[in-house]
């Protein structure tokens, strides 16, 4: 479906948007299965209402909140972001949602909070992929607090002007466009502010292949393939991958002085 073009915001890319049909049928969402078409095929088993999100840990105002209430706290915004998968393909996604920073400011992190940990729903009845132990369920992701507060960090509840499809992480997912796609945890049920760096799922599963930071970096290859190029879905020729997925101007300063080969 073609989307009516609105004026671009300061965080939007003007690149051609990946069509809805492709963005919703080529997904990594191991809770439904490891195949790219498993999520679209099996996502009907996920029920996204009622849905409660628990926000706790090092916060002054912990809360257990219904997804519709949570959404009503913030005006919904459009964001057209590049999305680069660690496997070497990318899309341009028109998200709908609210900045993660707005949510964090509302629940007020305490002075001890240094990281934000996200947890996906664990329910093998709804997620057939969780009946096997291909990953250590539930899926956990995390950000440093300053990363989470960056204006690019986003919580999506919609895509292409519609409610977020189940296979894309309904009803609530993280979008951090300068990191590899696996950081963008889907179907979030819990957000916990912590003092210690969260033990994130892929970094636990294969620590030599996937790091906590997972910033898009063409100079740090995956052990099994180069990260220097990517295929934009819909294109035949690969294109060069940009540092921080093209968001270096906005986010490189977060990592000043850090060895990005070590903290990959």
């Amino acid at each position: 479906m073609a989307q009516a073009r609105r004026p671009l915001g300061p965080y939007d890319t003007s690149e051609p948007i990946t069509p809805y049909a492709q963005a919703t049928t080529y997904n990594n969402f191991y809770e439904f299965g490891t195949g790219k078409d498993d999520p679209a095929r099996l996502a009907g088993s996920l029920r996204t209402r009622p849905w409660t999100v628990l926000i706790d840990g090092e916060v002054r105002k912990p809360v257990r909140v219904d997804i519709d209430t949570l959404q009503s706290w913030f005006p919904l915004e459009d964001r057209i972001y590049r999305m680069r998968c660690v496997e070497g393909w990318s899309m341009v996604m028109p998200w709908l949602g609210f900045p993660l920073g707005a949510l964090l400011r509302r629940i007020e992190p305490s002075s001890k909070a240094r990281y934000v940990q996200f947890t996906s729903l664990y329910d093998p009845k709804q997620f057939p992929g969780q009946r096997g132990d291909v990953l250590d369920w539930p899926y956990v992701e995390g950000l440093r607090l300053d990363e989470a507060l960056h204006p690019l960090s986003f919580m999506a509840v919609g895509l292409h002007g519609r409610v977020l499809p189940n296979q894309n992480g309904a009803p609530l997912r993280l979008v951090v466009p300068w990191k590899y796609g696996f950081k963008n945890i889907k179907s979030v049920v819990r957000i916990t502010l912590t003092q210690k760096q969260p033990r994130t799922t892929w970094a636990q599963a294969a620590p030599d292949e996937y790091g906590f930071y997972a910033n898009v970096n063409p100079k740090v290859p995956h052990p099994r393939w180069s990260q220097a190029t990517e295929r934009r879905i819909g294109e035949l020729r690969r294109r060069p991958t940009l540092p921080f997925n093209g968001y270096a101007d906005q986010v490189a300063s977060l990592y000043k002085g850090m060895d990005l080969r070590r903290f990959f």
Binding site: Q22, T25, Y26, Y30, T34, K36, D37, E87, W89, G132, V134, L135, A205, A206, P221, P223, R224, W225, S226, A228, T229, R231, I233, G234, L236, R237, R238
Partner: protein, 186 residues
């Protein structure tokens, strides 16, 4: 037989035309040709053990065709990989030299080349049966490397490569046991 073995290639071509290969068709075609190459190579190696166990003669008659088809899909797999990287020599060289995952896959294909070239009856005569047979034992090295390539190629779920490894192990065991028995008898 050979014509039948080309049906998957035709289906792949057709799917590519109609968009049935999904959002990332090159990637999908690479995966499917790789799987076909490995499956056909394993099938070609199953012919002799099957003949040993059953006494049937037809497996021996299709062995060559299976082996050649495996090589054909291996080459297609490699060509698609080259296409994926825009036929850029530097990228491919770096992959082959520095990434064990690619190295072993490439080595498996290279090992299959002399086997494909000596698949005719003339070659058996020229080399002598013993030499020819010894040369064609490389197929076991190739399948071992192929399974390793498959193992390293999957991101997390190792069940399919594990099944492939088990099948190869069983086939190898049948031969080993049989040849030992034959030797014990003589």
């Amino acid at each position: 037989m050979v014509v039948g073995g080309l049906v998957p290639a035709a289906v792949l071509l057709l799917d590519a035309q109609t968009g049935a290969l999904g959002a990332n068709p090159v990637q999908r075609a690479i995966l499917q040709t790789g799987l076909l190459a490995l499956a056909l190579l394993i099938l070609s190696l199953a012919c002799t053990p099957l003949r040993m166990l059953t006494g049937w003669t037809w497996p021996a008659r299709i062995r060559k065709a299976l082996g050649l088809l495996a090589f054909f899909y291996g080459v297609l797999h490699f060509l698609l990989y080259l296409l994926d990287h825009g036929f850029t020599p530097a990228v491919v060289l770096e992959d082959v030299l520095e990434r064990p995952f690619v190295t072993v896959g490439f080595a498996a294909l290279v090992l299959m080349l002399p086997l494909a070239l000596t698949s005719g009856r003339g070659a058996v005569r020229r080399l002598g049966f013993q030499n020819w047979q010894r040369l064609h034992q490389l197929a076991y090295v190739a399948v071992g490397l192929g399974v390793l390539h498959f193992w390293w190629g999957v991101k997390k779920d190792h069940t399919p490569p594990l099944i492939a490894a088990l099948v190869v192990a069983v086939l190898f065991a049948v031969r080993l046991i049989r040849s030992r028995r034959t030797r014990a008898r003589s």
